[in-house]
Every structure is written in structure tokens, then in C-alpha cells.
């Protein structure tokens, strides 16, 4: 039972990391970024590249430390590509959520194919650092260090994001634009700049998620698509514009998924979670938490 709960939280924390970026970009810009999964893939591959560089050019004793360089690298690379994406494609699609969905899906296909051309279609393995081998034993169950490390990584990323959004000047601007774009613009906030920054951050977080996924299993060009639909479910359940909603949504879906899968099997678990989400939306049509507003959109 503890194991199930732990696995649920572990899955939920990964979903959270992926959904955070989606929730922000959707809440702020009403843009559905289907290429988010490919940004995860980019994060994963940049981790792979960092690992290769370490194993080839640096002494073996240094190897374990590659991961600490890989996380920021994944963040920066994904953020830069996200910025480029915002500048070239998404900029034209504000206020057209369904169109943004289609265009970013196209971008996703291009990125996937590009990864296939560069790294080859088969999955590649990333060797996890030595200090993450083994696990922690508590009351008879073994909690793998890798999973614990990922949970810690998610918590740190989440706290950093929350601090950024609620305690810094830029974060305040982001929240202002999220709540009322016109009014914020009237008061001198450059919504263009805010959009770019936010999109870059959302993409960067996807990059970190990609780096985390390399610890769990091999990575391939379509790694993002496995998680992206679930991450969208988190956004639907959690509501947009509130970090808390995303947290509860992610952990909820993670835990229910694991529990249902434990009771039945992997595919029935998915069906049950989907049914549960539809039922949940009968009770809360706009998600668990959402910004209260009188405007009708």
C-alpha cells in the first residue's frame, strides 16, 4: 500500500513538472502547446548529449557530476527553443486556442522528425549517476533513490517557480497579464515581453522534466507523447492560472492512475481514470481551482 502511494506520488510529480509549463502558457496566453512533449524530448536529449561529452572528454571520476550540469543545460536549451517557437509561430496565434493547438502540433512533428534525423529512431539509454543507484528502506519497502531524487527535483522546481511568480517583479507582471491582459497592458506592462518570458520558462520546465525522464528509462523521439495527454488532463482537472490546482490535479491523477492500475490492469486503469475525469468535470466544469472572473469568454 505504501508502495502504491509512493508510485502514485512519483508518477504525479512527473506529471506535475510537465503540466506546470502547460498550465502557465494556457492560463496566460490561451495557447495549447502541443509541442510541449517535444520540448521534454529536447530536454532529455540535451541530457544525453551532456552525458556523452562527460564520458568522452572528462575523467571517469567526474562522470557522476554530469547530471548537475545536465539539468540547467536541459532548462536553457528547451527555453531557447521555446522562445524561438514563440517568436516564429505562437506570436501569430494569440486568442485562437484551437489554431494554436494545430500549429504547435505541426511544430511537434517537425521536432520529432528532426530528433529522428539527428539521434536516430531507436531509443537511447542515459546512464544514471552512480549515487542514485539503490534505494532507501522504510518499513519493509524499498524506495528507489531515483524516484526520491525526482520528487525532490520537482519540489525544488515547483518552489522556485512559485517564488518567481509570487515574489518577483516579473512574476507579478505575469500574474497581472494572466488575470486581465487589457488592463495590465494599459498600466504599462509589456504583454509581449511577458508572453515571451513565460513561454520560455514553461518550455524550460519541460526541459527539466525531460532531464528527469532520462533517469527512469531510455529516451526516444516520441518520449513526450507518452506523457503529454496525461499532462493535459492535469490542466483540465486542475484548472488554469493557479499553481495549486496543477499540484492537486497532478497528484490526484498520478495516485488514481496507480491505484486503478493496481486493482485492474494498465489499460483498464486508464479507462477508469478517464471516466473519473469526465465525472469530476460534471461537478467542477472549469477545474478544481480557477481564477474567478465575471467576464464571459
Amino acid at each position: 500500500m505504501i508502495m502504491q502511494a509512493f508510485n502514485g506520488i512519483s508518477l504525479g510529480s512527473i506529471l506535475l513538472l510537465i503540466a506546470l509549463g502547460l498550465a502557465i502558457t494556457f492560463g496566460l496566453m490561451k495557447v495549447i502547446n502541443m509541442a510541449h512533449g517535444e520540448l521534454i524530448m529536447i530536454g532529455a536529449y540535451s541530457t544525453y548529449v551532456v552525458q556523452i561529452i562527460f564520458s568522452q572528454y572528462l575523467p571517469a571520476t567526474m562522470f557522476d557530476w554530469y547530471y548537475f550540469l545536465a539539468i540547467p543545460t536541459a532548462f536553457v536549451v528547451a527555453a531557447l527553443i521555446g522562445m524561438l517557437l514563440e517568436f516564429t509561430v505562437i506570436r501569430h496565434l494569440y486568442g485562437r486556442p484551437l489554431d494554436s493547438l494545430l500549429a504547435t502540433f505541426g511544430v511537434g512533428l517537425i521536432l520529432q522528425q528532426a530528433a529522428r534525423s539527428i539521434f536516430g529512431a531507436p531509443n537511447v539509454g542515459v546512464q544514471s549517476p552512480g549515487f542514485l543507484r539503490g534505494g532507501l528502506e522504510i518499513i519493509g519497502v524499498t524506495l528507489p533513490y531515483i524516484r526520491l531524487f525526482i520528487i525532490a527535483l520537482v519540489v525544488i522546481s515547483f518552489l522556485a517557480l512559485a517564488w518567481f511568480l509570487y515574489k518577483t517583479r516579473t512574476g507579478r507582471k505575469i500574474r497581472a497579464v494572466m488575470q486581465n491582459r487589457e488592463m495590465a497592458t494599459c498600466l504599462g506592462v509589456s504583454s509581449r515581453k511577458v508572453d515571451t518570458i513565460t513561454f520560455a520558462i514553461g518550455s524550460g520546465i519541460a526541459g527539466i522534466a525531460g532531464a528527469a525522464l532520462t533517469l527512469i528509462g531510455p529516451i526516444g523521439p516520441t518520449i513526450g507523447t507518452y506523457y503529454i495527454v496525461d499532462a493535459f488532463m492535469v490542466v483540465v482537472v486542475g484548472g488554469v492560472g493557479m499553481l495549486m490546482g496543477t499540484v492537486v490535479g497532478a497528484l490526484g491523477i498520478g495516485v488514481f492512475n496507480t491505484v486503478f492500475e493496481y486493482w485492474t490492469n494498465a489499460s483498464m486503469g486508464k479507462v477508469l481514470v478517464f471516466a473519473l475525469i469526465i465525472l469530476f468535470l460534471q461537478w467542477r466544469p472549469s477545474g478544481l481551482f480557477s481564477l474567478q472572473s465575471r467576464s464571459l469568454d
Binding site: 494556457f26 490561451k30 495549447i32 509561430v89 501569430h92 496565434l93 486568442g95 485562437r96 486556442p97 484551437l98 489554431d99 493547438l101 494545430l102 500549429a103 502540433f105 505541426g106 511544430v107 511537434g108 512533428l109 517537425i110 520529432q112 522528425q113 529522428r116 534525423s117 507523447t225 495527454v229 493535459f232 488532463m233 490542466v235 483540465v236 490492469n265 494498465a266 489499460s267 483498464m268 486508464k270 479507462v271 478517464f274 475525469i277 469526465i278 468535470l281 460534471q282 466544469p285 472549469s286 467576464s295 464571459l296 469568454d297
Partner: protein, 364 residues
């Protein structure tokens, strides 16, 4: 009104010309190419329903692969039962199942199978749409949920391998209603049946969008809240349209499987579902004829490219998505209008900006 009528007439002639070309095509093409074209016709039928939903009502579904697949699977079950004559298919035998499960037996009757291929997708679509639209859940959420439906259904089909054939799908049919499926004559007849269905569906949908009901659909797309405040139950309209388009998708799936001879989960997954949307976008949403042309053209291009440069196709697909959505939201159909206007009267801004207007908040 005059210009609207003229445009309609023009579209009608375009459609008649297209159908005539399709009718004479088998005389020029090899049997293999005719069969390919027949598959594209199935897709062309599907996109009419999708256009009704997205182009006219403004509801984007990424789940039509499922309805298409359900229609195809039901027909495939019937065909394989006809071919096996009472025995169970190979994959069931390997899994030690000696008797056909109930949801196979139901479709052993051809009429039930044909009706089922259309009705089952409609029923599923109605249930899903009812629960989502009832609560005025945002359209974007609906789109995401339809995509989740695809993922869930595909996982389910793959995992229930012993009764669905898993990733391999269902194949190995020999006859349809007693006629051999491998004979070119049967395939040609199926090709003409597909054309017949295309004409029928197109005609029905044209009637629908030109009626008062169609006007309500366009009103939902352009300002749902205003329509709701005028006393219309917009949710039920959306449920109905979604269900109709799912039924059309089921019909298309049925025609598809008879001409291809196999249905597997990869043909109904996330990528095929979204490709269907692309056909609508390329042809021009909200025109009915546009998507038909889009489906035929894109699929021909896909076959051509995947025969010559398979790697190139995904890049091409991706770029087309981006370019169409950003620069040509009205698709190919708007291109002809744009050219006409530029050449003729210099009427600026008259070009349909339908795609852009829909999402602005109607009431502040």
C-alpha cells in the same frame, strides 16, 4: 444574397465536376491505384462530417480516429466472421478462445453490422458530448478530452489482444456478402459505392448547413453566448452535430476497411486523428467541398511522398500544419477567392476571416 447564391452554385458545380472526374478515374488507373483512390474517398466522406463539426460549429475534435476505427472494427468483425464461417480468428485461437465473444456475435448479421458501424460511434459520441457540453465546459477542454479518448481507446484495444487482435488488428477477409474481396470487380463496385456515399453525405450535409439548423451552427461558432442568451440550447446542438459527424466517421471507417482489408490501432491513433483535421484545414473549413478536395489531395501527396521520400513526409506535414494555420486559415478554398478578389474588384477585407473572429470574447 445574390453573391452568396452565386457562390453556392459555383461550389455545387465544383462538386459535380469532382464527382465526374472520380467516376471516370477507374478507366484510366490501374486496379491498385483505383483501390488507393477508394480509400481516399472514405477519408473524404469522413472530413465532411468533421467540417460540419469544426468548420461550421467551431468544435474541434481530435477523436474522430476512434469513430472511424469503431466503424472499421465493426465491419472487420463482420467480414472476418463471414470469411471464417463459424470458426474463431487466428488470434483468438492462439489465446485459447474457442467461442466468439458476444460483441462479435452481435455483428454476424450484415444489417446489424452496417447499422452498428454507424450507430455505435454515434452513441459513444452522444454520451461523451452530452456529459461535456452539458456543463458548458470550454471547447478547448473538449478538444483535449477527445484526444484523451483516443489514447484510452487505443490502449484498451491493444491490451484486449485476445478478442481484438491487439496491435496487429483484424485482417484476413476473403469475401463480402458472398463476393470475393480480392477480385477487381468487387473492388470497383466498392469504389462506386464509396462515391455514392460521398455524394449522399455531401448532399445531406449541404441541406443541413443551408437550413435554419445550419444557421444556428454558424451562430454557435461565431458567438455561442449570444445565441444562448437568445434562448437556444446550444449544448444540445453541439451534441447532435458531434454525434452526426461521428456517424459519418463510422460510415467512412466501414468503407475504408472493405477496401483496405485490414484495420489496426495505428490507423485510429492520435496522429491519424489529427491528420484528419489537417485535411479539413488544407481544403478550407466551413465549405464542405474544400475538405473533400483537401482529403483527396493530401492523401495523394502522402502516397507520392512516402513512396519516394518517406522521411520527408513528416517534415512536410508539420510545415503544412504551421503554414496553413498561420497564413491560410481558410484553406485552399479561400485561396481561389482571394485571387479572384485581387484580380477583380479589389474588394478588400471581404475575404472571410471566419477563423479569426470565432474566439474573441463575444460579451466583455
Amino acid at each position: 444574397m445574390q453573391s452568396f447564391g452565386a457562390r453556392l452554385l459555383e461550389r455545387k458545380w465544383l462538386f459535380i465536376a469532382l464527382i465526374l472526374i472520380l467516376i471516370i478515374m477507374p478507366f484510366f488507373l490501374s486496379d491498385f491505384r483505383t483501390n488507393l483512390l477508394g480509400r481516399y474517398l472514405a477519408f473524404a466522406i469522413l472530413v465532411i462530417g468533421l467540417d460540419l463539426l469544426w468548420g461550421y460549429t467551431g468544435v474541434l475534435s481530435l477523436g474522430h480516429g476512434i469513430f472511424f476505427g469503431l466503424g472499421a472494427y465493426i465491419m472487420a468483425m463482420y467480414l472476418s466472421m463471414e470469411s471464417m464461417a463459424g470458426a474463431v480468428p487466428d488470434f483468438m485461437m492462439w489465446n485459447g478462445i474457442t467461442e466468439l465473444p458476444w460483441f462479435w456475435m452481435v455483428f454476424s448479421n450484415p444489417i446489424v453490422a452496417i447499422l452498428g458501424a454507424i450507430m455505435v460511434p454515434m452513441i459513444i459520441a452522444t454520451i461523451l458530448a452530452f456529459f461535456i457540453f452539458r456543463n458548458r465546459i470550454r471547447d478547448v477542454y473538449f478538444t483535449i478530452l477527445t484526444q484523451a479518448l483516443v489514447l484510452v481507446t487505443v490502449t484498451l484495444i491493444v491490451s484486449q489482444q485476445n478478442v481484438t487482435g491487439g496491435t496487429n488488428g483484424i485482417t484476413g477477409f476473403s469475401t463480402i456478402f458472398g463476393y470475393s474481396l480480392s477480385s477487381p470487380v468487387t473492388q470497383q463496385i466498392l469504389y462506386y459505392i464509396s462515391i455514392g456515399c460521398l455524394v449522399g453525405v455531401f448532399f445531406l450535409c449541404s441541406l443541413l448547413v443551408n437550413s435554419r439548423f445550419g444557421k444556428a451552427l454558424i451562430a454557435i461558432r461565431d458567438g455561442e453566448n449570444r445565441l444562448r442568451f437568445s434562448g437556444y440550447d446550444t449544448s444540445m446542438f453541439k451534441v447532435l452535430v458531434f454525434s452526426v459527424s461521428a456517424g459519418i466517421a463510422g460510415l467512412a471507417g466501414m468503407l475504408f476497411v472493405t477496401q483496405v482489408g485490414i484495420i489496426s490501432p495505428t490507423m485510429m491513433g492520435i496522429i491519424p486523428s489529427i491528420e484528419m483535421i489537417l485535411w479539413v484545414a488544407i481544403g478550407g473549413r466551413g465549405t464542405l467541398i474544400g475538405p473533400v478536395i483537401g482529403a483527396l489531395l493530401t492523401n495523394s501527396a502522402k502516397t507520392f511522398f512516402s513512396e519516394t521520400y518517406p522521411d520527408f513526409w513528416l517534415y512536410f506535414l508539420g510545415f503544412i500544419f504551421v503554414i496553413i494555420v498561420i497564413f491560410l486559415p481558410g484553406g485552399l478554398m479561400s485561396l481561389t477567392q482571394k485571387l479572384k478578389q485581387r484580380g477583380g474588384k479589389h474588394e478588400k477585407q471581404a475575404v472571410s476571416t471566419e477563423g479569426k473572429e470565432t474566439n474573441h470574447s463575444a460579451v466583455g
